[in-house]
Symmetry: C2
Amino acid sequence: MPNVIVVRLGHRQGRDQRITTHVFLAGRALGASSGVLCGDRDESVIRGITRVSELWGGSFAVKYEENWKRYVLAKKKQGAVVVHLTMYGEKFEQKIHGLSGKDLVVLVGAGKVPREAYDLSDFNLSVSSQPHSEISALALFLDRVFAGKELNVDFNGKMKIVPNKCGKEVVRGTND
Amino acid sequence: MPNVIVVRLGHRQGRDQRITTHVFLAGRALGASSGVLCGDRDESVIRGITRVSELWGGSFAVKYEENWKRYVLAKKKQGAVVVHLTMYGEKFEQKIHGLSGKDLVVLVGAGKVPREAYDLSDFNLSVSSQPHSEISALALFLDRVFAGKELNVDFNGKMKIVPNKCGKEVVRGTND
């Protein structure tokens, strides 16, 4: 799968801790390669994701970047396509075919997103033009980019769930 | 579209306010008919969703139910299929074809979900067997149930977004 990096813009410590963590967990579970935290430096988010990856597998990790703009511009120079998810953007369904298979940087805003994020992005895309959640928007975006194949990835973790009709079955993975 | 009700189990005031709001906003934007809040009675969540529907359209509303079990059993009696989204469940992709077009009650847990929710549900389904977010899980589940058609619904709201390549364009809707 191509390299897809989820960049959380404008994270606010305290207020956004759980939502930002869910953004990264959704990214990890649905095929993204790594996460970048911008805004407030919040070690609790980074540690939380690290713990999940240690236990449940895969190589997804989050790092902090103080200067989101410099980071995104550097990625663009390296050839990544920058997609900003915003309810105001163009319909993502119409653009997704051109994005599959490419290295992507996906910008997901917390508070008000700076104007520059719209300008720097190759695509400003909306997942429905209704207000909902950056987590659900990211989920549907990744699902379309990966055409549903992200659900079949084996994370090869220390812990592994055995799908169960009416209970919980967790086994030690082969990586333990 | 069939009647799909999103039931949030075990909401904890304060701790879950934003996540629960995102659950319902995702439900609303992605085709669910209504929401039911269980756990702590939290008027701020209900008011928030009401305001969104007033402005952006549609008939989605959230009501509070003190006794989730009684509510779910009554819905079952009326013929709804009860689906509990849990990372421990069976793979949702394998069951979705049998659920499309049916009236559904979708249980989404906040804290630890009581054993009875597993037992009462017709299906315990996982959206990937990795930990992520109830918001992303609900989004992908609804998207599959409605086969992507939920993204084309016209909410006929007072406010309406015109999809834009690089900015924000909001117009007064026909319902104003």
